[in-house]
């Protein structure tokens, strides 16, 4: 399974000296990070490492105490709408009156001025997004009749319909079955091939090693960041997770990823 070579190093995200604190307790310490454009990046680290905090900071949902953030060479204020997000846990009210199709369409809401009604182009984007996550059949289903995994996929569709150059996904595979997970991982690789950048918080180190070309190891500080081959090694993992974790293929929960849909 060959990985495409990394594109020339232009940063999609650049953080300089970013510290984020909840109250006076820092969740991220002095993060310097540069994620190359067009990469499929994994962010890994133990629970409470600050992964969600990092994602939210990149999206401008949390204000860093110090530091500078650039998205695609622009400051956060100018990059609104260029980042799509699938949250780890969402507190939305699923009884809100909308269908799956409406939800997918919400991703396009940022790109239209108010006097223009939703047009063919927006509908096409929403439909394509639903196709990508295999939810077209449920497009007319009210969202309060979805299963947990279907809800997660509907959120993914909303992020995809936004057509943003950067996609940020916080543990997108929670509650998603194995075959859908593989289909979505394939989708990620396709998106990357089409020139989009993806940053995914992901816990399965084996798929990270097999599929993601850039890795960020995080535990309050950035322990290591770089191309996966050179970064995801025993030493760095130990520094991130503590001494008891190794990358032993015999203990792999799913076995190595073979790139094929089952």
């Amino acid at each position: 399974m060959a990985k495409e070579p990394l594109p020339p190093a232009e940063a999609v995200v650049r953080l300089e000296d970013v510290t984020v604190a909840y109250g006076d307790r820092p969740a991220l310490w002095d993060v310097d990070l540069e994620i190359p454009k067009g990469s499929l990046t994994a962010v890994v680290g133990p629970n409470g490492a600050g992964k969600t905090t990092l994602m939210k900071t990149m999206l401008g949902l949390l204000k860093p105490a110090t530091g500078r953030i650039e998205i695609l060479g622009e400051s956060l204020a100018h990059s609104k709408g260029k980042v799509a997000f699938v949250p780890q846990r969402s507190s939305v009210d699923w009884d809100y009156p909308a269908t799956v199709g409406d939800l997918a369409l919400m991703g396009t809401h940022g790109s239209l001025p108010w006097w223009k009604p939703v047009g063919k182009e927006e509908k096409r984007r929403a439909r394509e997004a639903l196709e990508m996550v295999d939810l077209v059949g449920l497009a007319d289903r009210p969202i309060n009749q979805l299963s947990g995994g279907q809800q997660q996929r509907a959120f993914l569709a909303r992020a995809l319909s936004q057509d943003a150059p950067l996609l940020v996904l916080d543990e997108p595979f929670q509650g998603i079955d194995a075959s859908t997970e593989r289909a979505i991982l394939d989708l990620f690789r396709n998106l990357r091939r089409m020139g989009r950048s993806l940053i995914v918080v992901h816990h399965d180190l084996h798929t990270v090693r097999d599929l993601f070309d850039f890795s960020v190891l995080l535990n309050v500080r950035v322990v290591a960041a770089g191309p996966t081959e050179s970064t995801l090694n025993e030493e760095n993992l130990r520094a991130t997770y503590g001494p008891r974790l190794g990358l032993d293929p015999r203990r792999a929960p799913h076995g190595p990823y073979d790139g094929a849909r089952p």
């Binding site: 997000f85 809100y96 009156p97 939800l103 919400m106 940022g110 108010w114």
Partner: protein
């Protein structure tokens, strides 16, 4: 009479346009809270300018209503979404400030708490709107008309942002939409509707018109646009039926509108297609037969594979092993026969080729024949 109806109808439209917002954010009782909180503003305005019936009182009322709604909204954020607790804290505070000031400063005038709290639709038309000496109708109607037009304009401009705000403000922020502004807009819009229609209708009818029509919409639709339309329509219907009732039986208008709103909500609860209770009762029987038919299809195929169909797949065998009544077995078998999925042969139910495929698809969790799995009735929103 016509003027009273007009005031009521415009209030219903105003409530119909804001009710869904409150309902979807789970703060319908904001209507009640705000209408009591205006007392603080009335008290303070009266303290500064002690004249009963001055426009300052109404301005004070509107301002303190906005203020209370805003504080409650912020507090809800701090309390992580517990709107009931936030309202419970804010509204007694504002109410008691007003009550104290009025008790001290206005004890010798006839401005008292009861008067502030009970709006009166019958007399709402008494205050006229005059322009250069000509009478242009009741002031209250003009106020509400202005508010309704403003609401429609705002709703049109911020329609998509409003959807984001109601469903997932964080997503709105990510898309770069002005969510903080929308929060202010929603507070101002809801409080102005509340303050002005409460003037005419009183707090109880106001809450009835904010909640009742919205609940109808819950049972009628699962899309946001129709949701607003259904709410407005149900509100208008309530006012029409209520004033009609009041005229016919010579009753208090506000009371009969409130009653009508309740009855219409109840009627929708019972009769609504898909979610209504009557519909679900009717459905339950059909769904039961569908479910039994599916049970039979899977069961007979299994025993045909095992080879003991002669003893198992008879009427008695099916009845006893599947714990069904004889009637149910007959109805289920009929359902299968009608679709050429099974036939009776020598008192044994035998699956056809199509029936075997059907049973297989059921066992794999796909239900190809008419969509839903039997027995699984669509659940309406959590209001049930």
């Amino acid at each position: 009479m016509l003027e009273i109806f007009l005031i009521g109808a415009l209030s219903a439209i105003g409530c119909g346009l804001t009710g869904p917002v409150l309902l979807l954010r789970r703060r319908v009782l904001l209507g009640d809270a705000v209408s009591h909180s205006v007392l603080a503003g009335i008290g303070i305005a009266f303290w500064i300018h002690p004249v009963v019936n001055s426009p300052w009182l109404r301005l004070g009322a509107a301002l303190s209503g906005c203020c209370a709604a805003w504080v409650a909204t912020k507090l809800t954020g701090i309390l992580r979404g517990r709107a009931d607790a936030a309202l419970g804290l804010v509204f007694p505070l504002f109410f008691s400030i007003g009550a104290l000031i009025l008790a001290i400063k206005a004890s010798n005038t006839h401005l008292d708490v009861d008067q502030v709290l009970s709006g009166n639709l019958e007399s709402s038309w008494l205050e006229r709107f005059r322009l250069g000496g000509t009478d242009l109708g009741p002031q209250a109607a003009w106020n509400m008309l202005l508010i309704v037009v403003a609401l429609l304009a705002a709703g049109w401009i911020w329609w998509r942002d409003l959807q984001l705000y109601l469903f997932d403000p964080q997503q709105g922020q990510i898309l770069g939409r002005p969510m903080a502004f929308l929060e202010i807009l929603v507070v101002v819009a809801t409080t102005s509707v509340i303050v002005f229609s409460f003037d005419a209708m009183g707090p109880i009818l106001l809450v009835a018109l904010l909640a009742g029509p919205g609940i109808c919409a819950w049972f009628l639709t699962s899309q946001i646009g129709p949701f607003f339309l259904a709410t407005v329509a149900a509100g208008l219907l309530s006012v029409l039926a209520g004033t009609g009732l009041a005229c016919a039986l010579d009753l208090n208008i506000a009371g009969s509108i409130g009653l009508a709103a309740f009855l219409i909500a109840l009627g929708t609860l019972l009769m609504a297609p898909d979610h209504g209770m009557v519909f679900r009762l009717l459905q339950a029987n059909r769904a039961r037969i569908r479910f039994v038919a599916r049970l039979l299809a899977v069961h007979i195929c299994q025993h045909e594979i095992k080879g003991d169909q002669a003893s198992e797949n008879t009427r008695v065998g099916l009845r006893d092993h599947l714990k069904l009544s004889e009637k149910e077995v007959a109805a289920g078998a009929l359902w299968l026969q009608a679709r050429s999925l099974a036939v009776w042969e020598n008192q044994i139910l035998v699956s056809t080729h199509a029936g075997k495929i059907f049973a297989k698809s059921l066992a794999e969790g796909q239900d190809s024949t008419d969509g839903q799995m039997g027995g699984e009735i669509q659940r309406p929103a959590s209001l049930m």
